[in-house]
């Protein structure tokens, strides 16, 4: 009953999975040079000129700034008052920083020529989720996106993992910057005269590192491993989270005792290398290969990842020592990727739905709040998933009566040019964008 995809369907399918929606131009290009050549181009984003989107991003004030500059220019409301700033709190406060982050993400999804890269960046942003509205993270996620996720998105998983472990954004979000050896409590007051804070480990990061970032919840660790991993990461902290935020290892705060993580002994007397050893151990653990392969296949192929393809992708992950490029290539060139049952089987999550609609109508947009609000109402306010789990990646999570209503209303508003800051460049029947088929990719 299920017949193999035609060449035309293959191109549509490929573009719907490897980009934020097939456009006429991209479809013609792939038809001309073929999927394999197009894929190889996309796997090396640094070689693809991307001037139009860079031009759009120049209009944003904050995405190029350091965390230190952001904190100074967009201080918390109470500090702004103290400094006598009277400008509107939105334009001058940290909420503005998050707003521009969201704008940049959406603009790139719509306009970047590096579409596969943007898809993968979106995947890792969600995998290594940081809630941008938590305290100091309001000034840290800009750098997290730019300096932590993006440089490694198609690189080696171990480097990406280490970069997140040492990022001020993650250290703050999952509280590891506060996690210190219980022994440190005996130490005298700090030089600035403040009383010594109570000391002890905080297992928040350690647990999510194992459960969400690497092994997966059934990956074979126990509560004791969580506690031991937390001990290994004591002293991994932030120099000035509000201000010139940088990773710093603080030996005084590190638990120097012996630890055993997943059966591997980490001898006493270690320093920062204890945490590095954990990173190496979990980045190369077979459960991590399987867990990441499952998630990537779910992202690119189907809600229920076909087990043979997962096994194959996990094998590539292991053999390539976690080369993300190689794993992505293996997945999107596999016969299972083009299986008839995979065609249009994924529900577009809100970012994909909105971006693909904008691409379909060749929209000229500034991705301002009136547009971003639709994303929030569809359930995906960008960078604002509060739990460390991030957003789900299966269709039923995204389709409900209320989200369908918002999708329909968005489609109608877009096609009839009723979204301030956004103009359709091409006439498209709103029923196409609002209809059931367009909700899938």
């Amino acid at each position: 009953m299920a017949t193999a995809l035609t060449q035309e369907q293959k191109i549509t399918h490929f573009l719907n999975r490897a980009s934020f929606g097939a456009t006429r131009e991209e479809t013609e290009k792939v038809a001309r040079i073929g999927i394999p050549a197009y894929l190889e181009e996309q796997l090396y984003p640094e070689r693809i000129p991307d001037a139009p989107v860079e031009e759009k991003l120049k209009g944003l004030k904050t995405v190029h700034l350091s965390s230190k500059d952001l904190f100074e220019l967009y201080p918390p409301p109470n500090q702004a008052k103290a400094r006598g700033l009277t400008v509107s709190s939105l334009m001058q406060g940290p909420r503005y920083v998050i707003l521009e982050l969201q704008q940049a993400r959406l603009l790139r999804a719509v306009y970047s020529q590096r579409q596969l890269y943007e898809m993968v960046v979106d995947f890792w942003t969600n995998h290594f989720n940081v809630f941008a509205a938590k305290g100091a993270d309001r000034w840290l996620v800009t750098s997290y996106d730019r300096d932590t996720i993006r440089p490694h998105a198609l690189g080696r998983f171990r480097e990406l993992l280490l970069a997140t472990a040492q990022s001020p954004a993650m250290l703050f979000y999952l509280d590891n910057w506060l996690s210190v050896s219980p022994e440190a409590s005996a130490r005298p007051a700090t030089t600035n005269g403040q009383p010594p804070a109570r000391r002890g480990i905080n297992e928040n990061y350690a647990r999510e590192l194992l459960e969400l970032h690497t092994l997966g919840v059934d990956g074979g660790y126990v509560q004791k491993d969580v506690e031991e991993v937390a001990r290994c990461f004591t002293g991994w902290t932030i120099r000035r989270p509000r201000g010139d935020a940088e990773f710093r290892f603080e030996p005084r705060l590190h638990d120097r005792g012996e630890k055993t993580v997943l059966g591997t002994r980490i001898p006493a007397g270690g320093g920062m290398e204890d945490g590095i050893k954990v990173i190496d151990l979990v980045a190369r653990h077979p459960s991590t290969a399987r867990f990441l392969a499952t998630k990537l296949v779910r992202r690119f192929v189907a809600d229920d990842p076909p087990p043979p393809l997962v096994m194959q992708a996990a094998e590539v992950f292991r053999q390539s020592d976690g080369d993300i490029k190689a794993v992505v290539r293996a997945i999107v060139t596999a016969p299972d990727f083009y299986a008839p049952q995979a065609f249009a089987a994924k529900v577009k999550k809100p970012l994909e739905f909105v971006a693909s609609a904008l691409r379909t109508v060749a929209a000229d947009t500034d991705a301002a709040p009136p547009l971003l609000r639709y994303l929030a109402r569809m359930g995906e306010p960008l960078f604002l998933a509060q739990p460390p789990t991030g957003y789900p990646d299966i269709g039923p999570s995204w389709i409900s009566p209320d989200t369908l209503l918002t999708r329909m209303n968005f489609a109608v508003d877009l096609a009839s040019n009723r979204i301030p800051g956004t103009r359709a460049g091409r006439e498209v029947d709103p029923l196409v964008l609002a209809g059931p088929e367009f909700q899938r990719r």
Partner: protein, 407 residues
């Protein structure tokens, strides 16, 4: 139809009285009719794992104070900083002080040391287990609120189950229909002229997920349109924010009499690993929002609360001992609140397991003495009239002796 029938019963009662028969039967019959005016269950999910030990404080438990030197709440006495005594052993966090009145009027019951028996400390798994109603079993296809709907009542009514969330929660996923909405006002089409065509497109799409969602949407919209003008606005002021707003909308839907049986909402921000605060601070702010929301909801519904039971759930409690950062890590047993007209409140239910090292769960967390399914099951059976609890909570047997939380 309800009014004439009630009238008939009343008249019949007068007739019986005239015959000199004892009036109790008559009174019960009239009340029975009243109680059939749609029973409603409201579920509030506190996502992130509330620290039950600081919400309802066991102040007579010395270990509580030794385990939590910097975040413990002082025992009851006068003053805002101190816990609010409930029964001489437990006390409310000062930010929950508003709930004291409901407790005294026996409309609020509390269950301590309750939750899911599974030992996972993963937010995701623990929430899933609690929403699926099958601790330890992940592949359950539907949520327990959905399963209790499929057996009860009129399957076609679009407003039987409503989640005041954008996305449908797992607890309501399943074959029974469920609506999601942000507010009554926002639940409408921008351009009505496309609605008919869209309805047809979705109905004939051959895509079950899209068909199901759209069917609920269009039918809900049709019902709402008919009565939109008669939906009352709220009479109490709810706390600002999504949670308060969602309770306000639930109350309006209840008052609108459109066949609501199950309502769901959630409140985030309970994952207090660092600086959770004591009498004030991060967690106190959440508790205040919770208490203000529940009080406003209760006040807003007035008499109608006789038909409503509201329960709170949270995926797990937190470590008995505070961590190094004046916070608490993922733990085990927790607290549930049950609010309603038929609730036998004014009591903290559940056996207190103690906090001594040898009785802590896995050496670190509050032990569990009441399965959350015992609480929910009892409410489903006594309040909602649910008969098939084996189907709602497969593999779980309710305790032989009921807790007695609802009359």
């Amino acid at each position: 139809m309800a009014f004439p029938r009630r009238l008939f019963l009343k008249n019949a009662g007068l007739a019986l009285l005239a015959l000199g028969l004892p009036p109790s039967f008559v009174v019960r019959a009239a009340e029975g009719k009243k109680s059939n005016r749609g029973k409603i269950l409201v579920v509030v999910f506190q996502r992130g794992g509330m620290d039950g030990l600081n919400a309802v404080i066991p102040f007579k438990e010395p270990a509580y104070y030794s385990l939590r030197p910097s975040i413990a709440i002082s025992e009851p006495a006068s003053g805002d900083e101190r816990a609010v005594d409930l029964d001489g052993f437990y006390a409310l966090h000062p930010a929950l002080a508003q709930l004291k009145g409901l407790f005294e009027r026996r409309r609020l019951a509390i269950i301590h040391a309750t939750g899911s028996p599974d030992n996972t400390r993963s937010h995701f798994d623990a929430q899933d287990y609690m929403e699926l109603g099958t601790p330890g079993v992940k592949n359950t296809p539907d949520g327990w609120l959905s399963r209790c709907l499929t057996k009860n009542g009129d399957a076609a009514a679009p407003f039987r189950a409503v989640a005041l969330t954008a996305r449908l929660p797992r607890i309501l996923a399943g074959s029974a229909r469920a609506l999601t909405m942000t507010s009554v006002e926002e639940f409408r089409f921008r351009n009505e002229s496309f609605a008919t065509t869209l309805q047809k497109l979705y109905a004939t799409s051959g895509d079950p997920l899209m068909q199901g969602g759209a069917k609920s949407l269009f039918e809900g919209m049709a019902v709402l349109k008919k009565i939109a003008d008669s939906i009352p606005s709220a009479t109490e002021s709810y706390p600002a924010g999504r949670f308060g707003g969602s309770l306000r909308e639930i109350s309006r839907l209840i008052k609108a009499d459109i066949g609501l049986e199950i309502a769901f909402t959630e409140i985030e921000g309970w994952d207090t690993h660092a600086n959770q605060g004591g009498p004030s601070g991060q967690m106190a702010n959440r508790l205040k929002e919770l208490a203000e929301g529940l009080s406003a909801f209760y006040g807003d519904l007035g008499d109608r609360m006789e038909d409503v039971v509201l329960i709170t759930l949270s995926e797990f409690g937190r470590t008995a001992r505070e961590n190094g950062n004046r916070g608490t890590d993922h733990g085990h047993a927790n607290v549930m609140f049950v609010l309603g007209g038929s609730v036998k409140g004014g009591k903290v239910y559940g056996r207190w397991p103690g906090l001594e090292p040898e009785v802590l769960y896995e050496g670190r967390d509050l032990n569990l003495t009441t399965d959350f399914r015992a609480v929910c099951g009892e409410i489903l059976s006594r309040h909602m009239g649910q008969k098939d609890l084996d189907r709602v909570f497969p593999g779980y047997k309710l305790p032989a002796r009921p807790l007695g939380i609802v009359a």
